[in-house]
């Protein structure tokens, strides 16, 4: 009932929009009459262009640009990532996502490295990403680069199955004001204000504040309110400047504060064999500061020094976490001899943490300081002909958990003509154990001690730390092919075979379970993406990905219990996106997705036997730009089903269904 009312509203607004037509207001300002200082402020190249020619990259790369983001109608970074072929994005609840590349999805999918403007947002405690606190003003994103497959040679440990680089625009590319407001059933309110300015000839800056309130979804089981509504408030700045022609700098920072509700229904107490249900509120807060200096000797010789400080806290019923991270990186690119393009670098990271232990999760020691030191070198060599490019490189990293790790890679690119390119690569990457695996103790249930103990003695079943863990190892074989007929038709495909060793799981011990390097296996898959622009008014993009996992218990493990997550990922995924220019300043966007079924990972599923069915979904929006700088959008997300299940969290919360969302958005740029 409710949905049909909303639908008819949506349709009538569509029609109203369609019937209205406002004459074009071409601001015919005469550039010739501008004075010199005004001329110096006119942008002659527009931002958001794909930075590098993708045909020359010997890896499976996909770039989401600003047009993709604004056309798709997504309201957060995780939702934007659904556009990437080969990524698995599943929303667990209103505030939680499981995102991975090429397999092993989970709430704490731990083989993916995520960076925002060069700052790693991978949390060292669980090796995952808290997507709910990754706030970026979407209008200020220049592009999101996603590399599927290992990128450890340049980015280091944990860049095992993929890297996501979220890159915001330089403040020189965001002049003026921007106000945007979203309101809808699920997106209760999202309001953003940004202002960019030029301080003097060589310094630019921008400032933003953002507020996002999202409503709760419903539980799968009884369709009651899932108590997962939340809000986030953030603000920040970015300054960019030049010193002469050869030096440039950036200084930026952000602050956020989140309030999130969650219903925790596996809260264990030592008086009951059954878990309690508690309503909890998550309180997360953090800030970061980043400074970067780049010096250019020439177009092919430059160095960059970057440092950031990241400070965040997160408090929820089962654990309280406090992190301070200091990171310093130096990179130098040069051409020491003809045909060689070398890049080398050094990095240092200091991680200070403090945990507030509970009976559910505890860390020992509660406070710790870890450091990671690394060095890398990569040489891109033009072989005999310019059509053949060989890239050799390795990263050397020293961490406090597993000592020294070496992560080499060899890549070869062949570009016989401008239209075709073929690449292949072999690389090794590692994931170092997380703080939880090394020093944690996690209660996963309560058990009654068997005879000879008298009945009624209940003890916690726990997964305990193992400080002898080795790093998880990946050996990856990849190949890819790109074909660009012309600007209007581009196909990109990639094939891979990944072989894993020492994957961390649990093994049974006398007193419970323990983290253990007990799994091995391989995955293989295929990803294809085609972009097609048949006419000026239609752009469409089609992608498909296939993945298969074979995971086995290592022969060395003597255990009847092992969590095997072979079906934690959809085997098939399809996505079709179209942008249609309807004329009359109207744009229509359609985005259909198919995601194959997955097994609900781990313990909850073992008990309840839940499977996540395959699903089709459709997002659509219509954008109307009546005046320069003014934009209205009416958007619908997940339109095909009233609600659907995408993922089941491993612990803590019962399955939640993701509901349909309809919202209106107003954007004003001045």
């Amino acid at each position: 009932m409710l949905s049909s009312v909303k639908t008819s509203k949506f349709i009538s607004v569509l029609l109203v929009l369609f019937c209205l037509s406002i004459s074009d207001s071409s601001a015919g300002q005469d550039v010739l009459d501008l004075d010199l200082s005004s001329l110096m402020q006119i942008q002659i190249t527009s931002a958001g262009r794909k930075a590098q020619n993708l045909a020359d990259v010997p890896a499976a790369v996909y770039v989401i640009d600003q047009a993709d983001i604004s056309n798709s109608g997504v309201t957060s970074i995780p939702e934007a990532l659904r556009m990437v072929p080969g990524l698995q994005v599943a929303r667990i609840s209103s505030s939680k996502w499981a995102i991975t590349s090429r397999g092993f999805n989970g709430t704490f999918a731990n083989k993916l490295l995520v960076q925002i403007d060069g700052r790693s947002v991978y949390t060292p405690s669980y090796s995952g990403v808290y997507w709910d606190v990754q706030n970026v003003v979407l209008e200020d994103v220049e592009r999101i680069e996603v590399i599927r497959g290992p990128g450890a040679t340049l980015w280091g440990a944990n860049a095992v199955n993929g890297i996501i680089n979220i890159i915001t625009k330089q403040s020189s590319d965001t002049p003026g004001g921007l106000v945007s407001v979203i309101s809808g059933n699920q997106e209760k309110l999202m309001a953003t204000a940004r202002y960019g300015t030029q301080f003097n000839g060589d310094t630019y800056g921008r400032f933003y504040i953002n507020r996002h309130d999202q409503d709760s979804y419903e539980f799968l089981e009884d369709k009651t309110d899932a108590y997962d509504d939340w809000d986030t408030t953030s603000g920040g700045f970015r300054l960019d400047g030049d010193v002469g022609l050869n030096d440039s700098w950036t200084f930026q920072g952000d602050y956020y504060r989140n309030n999130e509700n969650q219903r925790n229904d596996t809260y264990w107490v030592q008086t009951s064999l059954l878990p309690l249900e508690v309503e909890d509120s998550v309180d997360a807060e953090g800030f970061n500061l980043l400074a970067r200096w780049t010096h250019k000797y020439s177009d092919s010789n430059s160095w960059t020094l970057q440092s950031y400080y990241d400070d965040y806290q997160r408090e929820e019923i089962y654990i309280q976490q406090d992190h301070q991270i200091l990171d310093i990186d130096f990179q130098h690119r040069l051409q020491p001899i003809p045909r060689h393009d070398v890049i080398w670098g050094l990095g240092y990271r200091l991680i200070k943490d403090k945990f507030g232990n509970t009976s559910q999760i505890s860390f020992s020691p509660e406070k710790n300081t870890n450091k990671i030191v690394n060095a890398f070198v990569q040489d891109e060599i033009k072989l005999s002909t310019d059509q053949l490019l060989l890239t050799l490189g390795s990263k050397f990293e020293r961490n406090d958990y597993t000592g020294t790790e070496i992560q080499p890679s060899v890549r070869l690119l062949w570009k016989p003509t401008g239209k075709h390119s073929l690449w292949t690569a072999v690389s090794q990457a590692v994931r170092t154990p997380s703080r939880a695996e090394d020093t944690g103790l996690i209660t996963v249930g309560m058990i009654e001690l068997p005879p000879p103990y008298p009945p009624g003695i209940i003890v916690p079943a726990q997964v305990s730390r193992n400080n002898d863990l080795n790093a998880e190892k990946l050996l990856a074989y990849e190949a890819g092919y790109r074909f660009s007929a012309d600007k209007n038709f581009v196909v990109d495909m990639a094939l891979y075979y990944n072989s894993y060793e020492n994957l961390i799981t649990y093994q049974q011990t006398a007193t419970g379970f323990q983290f253990y390097n007990g799994l091995e296996g391989d995955t293989y898959g295929f990803e294809i993406n085609a972009e097609w622009k048949p006419t000026e008014w239609l752009t469409s993009e089609l992608s498909y990905s296939y993945i298969h996992l074979n995971i086995d218990i290592a022969p060395t493990v003597d255990s009847s219990f092992a969590v095997v997550a072979e079906k934690s990922n959809p085997e098939h995924q399809f996505s079709v996106r179209s942008n249609i220019d309807l004329g009359h300043d109207l744009h229509l966007n359609l985005w259909g997705r198919y995601v194959d079924n997955v097994d609900a990972a781990t313990s909850t599923a073992l008990i309840s036997n839940i499977e996540v069915d395959s699903y089709f979904e459709l997002d659509s929006n219509i954008i109307w730009k009546p005046l320069e700088g003014l934009e209205f959008m009416l958007a619908g997300q997940n339109l095909l089903n009233r609600q659907h299940l995408e993922f089941v969290q491993e612990q803590f919360t019962s399955p939640i269904e993701i509901g349909r969302s309809v919202y209106a958005k107003l954007t004003w740029k001045f």
Binding site: S3, S4, T7, F10, I11, L14, L15, F18, D24, S26, A27, V31, L32, D33, L34, D35, L36, S37, L39, M40, Q41, I42, Q43, I44, T45, S46, A47, Q170, S172, D173, G201, Y204, D240, D242, G244, L245, T535, E536, W537, I580, D581, L582, G583, H584, L586, L588, L590, L618, S620, I622, E628, L639, L640
Partner: protein, 181 residues
């Protein structure tokens, strides 16, 4: 519900089958360059010998492939210090006749050195986008900085041919080339 939605989408698409294409409204690179040339003309004083007489027009020349696409022509309706502006296009360096401002297109990049040698004694404001143009003896070099067009002035060379450049223009140059005293 889905059927109705698809229906509407189809309807809207069919009814508005008029792909009206609009060119981007933002000024193009050469439009900005044309405005720069006009401003340079205002802030530079040529020696009297550079003009045949007091009423002679100020000539803006383009050497090589013309990339201005008509953006220079509107300048001919303007004047600089009572002199009308004339725009001329030269195919080769041999065709270059009396002019006060000469933009060397990217098609000339390979022969810049020889061109500059030939022009070196004349009071002509030479302009180019080529890196190191000013260092090689060109008077003004356009250089992009953060997506905006800026410029470098070789003041020493300008002085050598008797041109005076207003301090306001000099202060906006991103770099000035002159011999240290």
């Amino acid at each position: 519900m889905l059927r109705r939605f698809c229906h509407i989408v189809l309807l809207v698409s069919l009814l508005s089958w008029s792909p009206q294409l609009k060119a981007a409204q933002e000024p193009r690179e050469y439009q900005v360059k044309a405005a720069y040339l006009y401003n340079f003309a205002k802030f530079i004083t040529w020696p009297e010998t550079a003009f045949s007489d007091k009423k002679a027009p100020l000539v803006i020349g383009v050497l090589g492939k013309n990339e201005f696409n008509g953006y220079l022509e509107p300048l001919t309706s303007k004047t600089v210090r009572n002199r009308p502006i004339v725009v001329k296009h030269f195919k080769s360096i041999e065709d270059v006749s009396a002019c006060q401002i000469l933009y060397l297109s990217s098609s000339e990049n390979k022969q810049l050195k020889t061109h500059l040698k030939k022009l070196s004694v004349q009071a002509i404001v030479t302009l180019s986008d080529e890196r190191n143009f000013a260092k090689q003896g060109g008077i003004i070099q356009f250089t992009p900085v953060r997506g905006r067009l800026r410029f470098i002035i070789n003041l020493e060379k300008a002085k050598a041919v008797g041109m005076k450049i207003d301090s306001q223009l000099l202060s906006l140059a991103i770099e000035l080339l002159e011999t240290k005293k």
